[in-house]
């Protein structure tokens, strides 16, 4: 009954005309950035964050969330029609979606992708409703050691899952921690690494950093490489999947949804990992694994369902614990803080309208996306034909205005350009930006929690291992750190075996 009351509150907020408008705007922009390769949801959210300063926190978060899950929908269109993932979570959809398009089945591929996304998004919201309240009650038991350990676990999971080289991903996370220390010390008020620049006293802003790392760096790479996009010219007809398509897809949709949702909740997890794992699981459980990669509809249904339910699940740690599980959630954390809302266990009690309004808006947004993505597919395909030479000056201008308008400061624009160069070099060297950004956001919170814990325990690190929740998180984190070393340790033996065989 209580849940129904919350749901009623949520829908009464989400269905207000102004919130409906921002929800529509969010999913529209999300679909747009999902469709256009080179501009992901993170860059779009950072570009539009300053534009939300004049709106209410609820409308602002509704719009930014819409961009995120809207991009999940839009990303599949480019994957299927152009074989270029509009954003990272759609990479797996390319494998079978593009093959289906080549076989003249672009319609059913786009259809199952949209319906599957809607289905998964809906189930994801139900999951949010059921899990959020128990998790909030659980989170109220958290003290500084638990928060510190949970954040360490989040960073470890992200570095473990997102990079080929865990060592380098950890290096980027350390760099993020260092950048996070710039500004006034939270406890003593001492200025750190500010070099007498007054604008740095508040620390380096999240928006210039993210815009630089994801927006400017992407433009720099594209200028250098001069990408060419070829749209697959096929008539898109019959968007409704056949009965046989549904029969083959229902299992993958269900499995992808459940798997994606829980991987989304996991600190450091998210839509990208969910889509990879669900594809691998489907291939393993399928009776026809040989069809994967050659146009199997299961290979479209599962990752699309997984990335959408993961997008919903990722909101849970942010809204209930105040801990962002990925870069997009870090952006939302920044937006909430700018609007004077502190996410965490008390959010539900202090701002129930925001919490339930955002949850309900996702349902409304998912319905809007279904309408936007199926009948208007032709329009999105046309957008793919916009030449990059026209697109990139606009991206640059969005970044420049976005970075400037937060504090009306040219220093922020310079910071963005510097991080643009850093991001470009990182991409050149295949270094991941995600661990850096997450560590940068979590860094100040981690530092406070670490120092509070050590003061409380009189300098003993045992406080992290004697409390069950903290100990569990740290043990998992340590296990994740040790796991990649195992093949390395085994390698001399393996080499020996190889030599003996030879």
């Amino acid at each position: 009954m209580e849940l129904l009351n919350y749901l009623y509150l949520g829908f009464s907020v989400a269905l207000q005309p102004i919130n409906l408008f921002y929800c529509f705007l969010g999913v529209l922009i999300g679909t747009l950035v999902g469709v256009l390769p080179g501009l992901g949801p993170v860059a779009a959210m950072s570009l539009l964050l300053p534009a939300t300063f004049h709106t209410s926190p609820v409308a602002s978060i509704i719009m930014l969330s819409g961009i995120y899950y809207g991009a999940m929908y839009g990303g599949s269109t480019t994957s299927i029609l152009v074989n270029i993932p509009g954003e990272a979570a759609s990479v797996m959809t390319c494998l079978d979606g593009y093959q289906m398009a080549r076989q003249g089945r672009a319609g059913p591929a786009l259809g199952i992708s949209a319906f599957g996304s809607f289905f998964a998004g809906t189930i994801g919201i139900v999951g949010m409703l059921l899990i959020s309240i128990p998790l909030v009650n659980f989170a109220l038991k958290f003290g500084p050691p638990e928060y510190f350990s949970l954040m360490v676990l989040g960073l470890m999971v992200l570095t473990f899952l997102t990079s080929a080289s865990m060592l380098r991903a950890l290096m980027m996370a350390s760099f993020g921690l260092i950048v996070g220390t710039i500004g006034l010390d939270n406890i003593s008020g001492l200025a750190r690494f500010t070099f007498n620049i007054p604008e740095l006293l508040d620390g380096v802003g999240l928006v210039p950093v993210v815009m630089g790392l994801f927006g400017i760096s992407e433009v720099m790479l594209n200028i250098e490489l001069k990408i060419k996009r070829e749209v697959f010219t096929t008539e898109i007809k019959g968007l409704l999947p056949t009965l046989d398509d549904w029969r083959r897809s229902i299992g993958p949709l269900l499995r992808g949804t459940v798997l994606g949702f829980f991987l989304g909740i996991l600190p450091g997890g998210g839509a990208v990992i969910a889509s990879f794992v669900s594809y691998a699981v489907e291939k393993r459980v399928s009776e026809r694994p040989e069809e994967f990669g050659k146009g199997a509809i299961e290979g479209v249904a599962a990752p699309e369902a997984a990335n959408n339910s993961a997008a919903q699940g990722a909101f849970i740690p942010l809204l209930t614990l105040g801990i962002p599980s990925n870069v997009v959630m870090a952006m939302l954390l920044g937006a909430l803080i700018i609007h004077g809302v502190t996410p965490g266990p008390l959010l539900l009690a202090q701002h129930p309208d925001l919490f339930w309004g955002v949850v309900a808006s996702m349902y409304v947004g998912n319905a809007m996306l279904l309408v936007l993505n199926l009948p208007l597919i032709g329009m999105w395909v046309q957008l793919l034909r916009v030449p990059y030479s026209i697109l990139f000056p606009l991206i640059i201008l969005f970044c420049l205005i976005g970075a400037y308008s937060i504090n009306n400061s040219s220093t922020d624009v310079l910071i963005m350009l510097v991080f643009g160069i850093i991001g470009y070099l990182m991409k050149k060297l295949s270094l991941e930006a995600a661990p850096m950004v997450l560590a940068f956001v979590l860094g100040p919170m981690m530092e406070t929690a670490l120092r509070q814990s050590l003061i409380k325990s009189k300098g003993s690190f045992s406080i992290f291992f004697t409390r069950p929740i903290s100990a569990t998180c740290l043990i998992i984190a340590i296990a994740l750190m040790v796991l990649p070393l195992l093949p390395w340790l085994r390698r001399p033996g393996a080499a020996l075996e190889h030599k003996e065989v030879a």
Binding site: P50, A51, H54, S165, L167, R168, L170, M171, S174, F175, L177, I178, T181, D185, I187, S188, L190, R192, F193, I216, V219, M220, I223, E224, L225, K226, P387, Y388, S389, I390, F392, P393, L394, I396, L397, L400, I401, Y404, S405, N408, S410, V413, L414, L417, I421, K428, L429, S430, G443, M446, E447, L450, R451, L454, I455, K458, G459, S460, F461
Partner: protein, 153 residues
Amino acid sequence: MKKTYLIHDIVWIGFAFLVCLGGLKLGFGSFKQPQAGFMPFLSGLLLGLLALADLISGVAGRWKHEKTDREIWPSIHRGKLFFTLALLFIYTLLFNTLGFIIATIPLLFFLYRLMEPRPWWVALIASVVTTGLFYLGFKVGLDSQLPPGILGF
């Protein structure tokens, strides 16, 4: 041994060393009473050790599968890249003084002509129209603060 990765690790080690020094200068405190330099020192130390481990693994021949220096730095369109960066830095420096409209039109003019050879008048019209639309959208529509500069609006 790949030169780019070698330089990359050495730069990180040097940077980490400077951060550690900065942390000590700010005051490490003790584990009982950590001070402002505590976190920077630990983060710098961690970064330095990780970069050192990466360097050692490279020396031990574990960079075999990494991209080659030529793959990392293909020499295509590098001039365009430097030109764009220089434009952006100049724009940032002049943005406040000249104002949004006066500074943005030439920036867009050069950017529009950078990737494809367009007639100058097409690029100019596109730059003026784009700047106008952005001004209307952000300044008038969203009430964003854009520098008025010499035009005064």
